[in-house]
């Protein structure tokens, strides 16, 4: 695959890249803490799912808040 062909795949925006890295860091953090805090596999997976759910809820709430503030004060 040539660099020119590879370049055609670069379609994501900077915001998408930043959200991807935010998600990745949260996932890694959740895995680490779930492994430290729990001893059984079931508990670990449950804790991981709970953390990721909180992450997505927080992300959506932050996005809504930012949109609301932007509608009030402009971009």
């Amino acid at each position: 695959m040539t660099p020119a062909t590879m370049r055609s795949f670069n379609v994501i925006s900077l915001e998408a890249a930043l959200i991807f890295f935010l998600f990745l860091s949260c996932l890694l953090f959740s895995i680490m803490y779930a492994m430290v805090d729990n001893h059984s596999k079931g508990e670990t997976l449950l804790d991981l799912a709970k953390n990721m759910k909180l992450f997505f809820v927080g992300l959506i709430l932050c996005a809504l808040l930012v949109n609301f503030l932007q509608s009030l004060f402009g971009t």
Partner: protein, 274 residues
């Protein structure tokens, strides 16, 4: 004793202590998470192995053996990547440094701290050329004129850098402490300490030294696989993300150290119970 051994092993490589006490799954997960975090950080933050100080000037003696004008002028060297290990190389690495040359114009190229402004001065003629390294740290000078015989060349960061856009020389921060221009404040001294002591210890020696090789291998990855559309270099926010990932890897390893100690302590405590 076991708990201290566990901490020491975890200081050699993340998860090694846990592996030694039989917690293999935990060890593999910890090692994978820390390594992935650290390598993602290094793939975005190319400045990691360059401190904010001690970028000294270098002198080099070059002898021109042919008569001037014998050979055609060489053009500027095309800016191309070559393998460098940012951890081991000198602060300003010139790739085509030779004690004897046969052309009266020579274009030097090499690698240094990303974005650094550089200059070469021929002390014998007073001739000076300047350039700036790109986001990967690679740079290429315009051809420098040499005279027959010995030429004393000085490679150094350019404190007064001429920009075509401004049409004049602008002052650039100098990281050479000996010149007394760069005087770090308390906060920057704290960063120096973190760079010199905290990063190498908490990221473990294997990752710290191995990271240089990894970074040397992927210096040009953005040219092949640019993540963000229409960006010729890694955007500044993503470079910051890389830096945060390196810090995150260090924090993860701190967590691994504490967990290893805690686990072994609990095991010993339970064993000693009557």
């Amino acid at each position: 004793m076991k708990k201290f051994t566990c901490v020491l092993l975890n200081l050699c490589f993340p998860g090694l202590g846990h592996f030694s006490v039989g917690q293999r799954t935990k060890a593999i997960v910890f090692a994978s998470c820390v390594c992935l975090t650290y390598l993602i950080g290094l793939s975005l933050d190319f400045d990691h192995y360059y401190w904010y100080e001690n970028i000294h000037s270098q002198d080099h003696l070059v002898t021109l053996q042919a008569k001037p004008g014998d050979s055609p002028d060489s053009g500027a060297h095309p800016l191309k990547a070559y393998f460098v290990n940012p951890y081991h190389e000198s602060q300003i690495d010139i790739a085509n440094l030779a004690p004897r040359v046969s052309t009266d114009h020579i274009a030097y190229f090499g690698h240094t701290k990303p974005g650094l402004t550089l200059e070469i001065v021929n002390e014998n003629t007073g001739d000076k050329v300047q350039t700036q390294s790109d986001y990967r740290g690679f740079f290429s000078f315009e051809p420098l004129e040499l005279i027959e015989g010995e030429n004393k060349l000085t490679f150094r960061p350019a404190n007064e850098y001429f920009t075509e856009q401004a049409g004049r020389e602008i002052h650039v921060a100098n990281y050479d402490l000996s010149s007394r221009r760069y005087q770090p404040g308390t906060l920057e001294k704290l960063w120096h300490f973190i760079y010199k002591m905290v990063f190498p210890v908490l990221s473990t020696p294997v990752l710290h030294y191995g990271g240089g090789v990894f970074q040397g291998l992927i210096l040009s990855w953005w040219e092949t696989l640019p993540l963000v559309v229409d960006q010729p270099t890694i955007p500044a926010p993503l470079r910051d993300v890389g830096f945060y990932f390196v810090i995150l890897a260090c924090m993860f390893n701190l967590l691994v150290l504490f967990d290893g100690y805690d686990t072994c302590y609990n095991e010993e405590f339970q064993r000693d119970l009557p």
